[in-house]
């Protein structure tokens, strides 16, 4: 009789823990762990900057590397954030710009140095398009996110009575991006902004896998965009 009551109390406590405390614990854990991202931003200024309301910038990804290429999604993310807020700058979408100036900004043909841009601007059709867009600065974003230190394993099984997973996995993401700013009016590089963001992601699995993802690339995008906005506005 005593043991039955004890068993009932233990079962009730376990149910209560499952219903109430476990989700709360996991939520707290996820909030704590998802914040584990460190971002460093460096700025190297080579010249004065500033932009007028009628002028715009274009942010382009470098895709000349043989081992990696700057993801279009990251470039779009930076562009969207630079075009937002109180210090918003008009940003020409990358795809629209590259298609409009085809074939001059393709991976094989894009200018690699400011002197190449000067030569390119001698092409009347290129100069005309850039003037039409009102482009004052071309920003070249170059970088990637690398995943390393993958550890752990998760096993999942399904049976007639249900299924579940058990295990633990983790990995580290490292985003390194540079944004080089070229002034189209002077054909000079006016500065470089670098961002380095690292974070550890975890996936604990007790019946259900709970991904606790470090938003490394999103943080790199946000930091780079904020700094770029200030830089171009002359701040």
């Amino acid at each position: 009789m005593m043991s039955e009551s004890l068993a009932r109390i233990i079962t009730t406590s376990t149910d209560l823990f499952r219903q109430c405390c476990l989700p709360l614990l996991l939520l707290t854990l996820s909030l704590f762990l998802s914040a584990c991202t460190t971002t460093t931003v460096d700025e190297f200024r080579q010249g004065e900057t500033g932009i007028e309301a009628h002028q715009s910038i274009v942010i382009l990804g470098r895709r000349q590397g043989s081992t990696y290429e700057t993801r279009e999604e990251f470039v779009n993310c930076v562009g969207e954030r630079v075009a937002r807020g109180t210090e918003a700058i008009r940003v020409i979408p990358e795809k629209e710009f590259i298609d409009s100036l085809f074939p001059w900004f393709e991976p094989r043909t894009a200018p690699l140095r400011t002197s190449d841009l000067q030569v390119l601007m001698e092409e009347p059709l290129v100069a005309q398009k850039i003037t039409e867009y009102g482009i004052r600065y071309i920003v070249w974003v170059d970088g990637q996110t690398e995943t390393s230190n993958r550890m752990g394993s998760i096993s999942c099984a399904v049976g007639p009575g249900g299924g579940g997973c058990f295990g633990f996995g983790s990995w580290e993401d490292d985003s390194n991006f540079d944004a080089r700013v070229w002034d189209v009016s002077s054909f000079a590089s006016v500065g470089t902004i670098s961002t380095d963001s690292t974070g550890q992601s975890y996936v604990p699995a007790v019946v259900v896998p709970i991904p606790l993802i470090a938003r490394v690339e999103a943080n790199a995008c946000s930091s780079l965009a904020t700094q770029l906005q200030q830089f171009v506005n002359g701040g």
């Binding site: 409009s100 085809f102 074939p103 393709e106 094989r108 043909t109 290129v126």
Partner: protein, 207 residues
């Protein structure tokens, strides 16, 4: 009886599904290609796409020699040339045959062909990208069929692997990348091919 009839109808469907599961995956490459911003050459160009180009497809095999992917890119190649050439020349005439050239009032006939197509899949290369290499033979002929120029152009395209991207989509995007590379390379180097340059000078369109 009606159940039996229904089953009879379902059998061919089942067999078809079973057979389709054993066959190669087909990728019909689709893409859009912008018109190049270049000074047009003030001449009339005839273009001839032979049947090999129009119906070009590449088959990727598994390590055991089974057909894995069939990449059909003939139509998208024609779409690419139809987008690029009208920006490069004042007039472009598409010819049904090389024999039609003398009567079409063209200055030359352009006849491209694909010599080699290579596909690299991430599951085979262990790289995080789909890659496509294409080697072309570009021929520029006089309306009477004699050679003006004959040169090779190579192109390369790649697209990174992504978690929610299908293999078919990766192959498509890498091929479109290679075709864009072809368009940019062809457009910007056309005038510098020695035989083409000589021909342009002879036609008074050298500058």
């Amino acid at each position: 009886m009606s159940v039996l009839n229904s089953l009879k109808k379902l059998v061919p469907l089942g067999v078809a599904l079973l057979l389709s599961a054993c066959g190669a995956n087909s990728v019909v490459v689709e893409g859009s290609y912008p018109s190049p911003n270049v000074r047009p050459i003030p001449l009339t160009l005839g273009v001839f796409f032979d049947a090999d180009l129009q119906n070009f497809s590449y088959t990727e095999y598994t390590e055991t020699g089974k057909e894995e992917y069939v990449v059909a890119s003939g139509q998208t190649h024609m779409q690419l040339f139809n987008s690029v050439l009208p920006s490069m020349f004042a007039n472009v005439v598409v010819l049904d045959s090389l024999e039609a050239a003398p009567g079409a009032q063209v200055d030359a006939v352009f006849a491209p062909s694909i010599e080699e197509f290579q596909l690299a899949l991430p599951q085979k290369t262990r790289l995080d990208a789909y890659e496509v290499w294409v080697k072309y033979n570009m021929r520029l002929l006089a309306p009477d069929g004699t050679y003006i120029a004959d040169w090779v152009v190579t192109s390369y395209g790649k697209t990174p692997t992504e978690s929610l991207r299908s293999i078919e989509s990766g192959i498509n995007d890498a091929t479109v990348g290679a075709l864009r590379d072809l368009a940019s390379n062809f457009t910007l180097t056309f005038r510098s091919v020695p035989e083409v340059s000589e021909w342009l000078v002879a036609k008074g369109a050298g500058n």
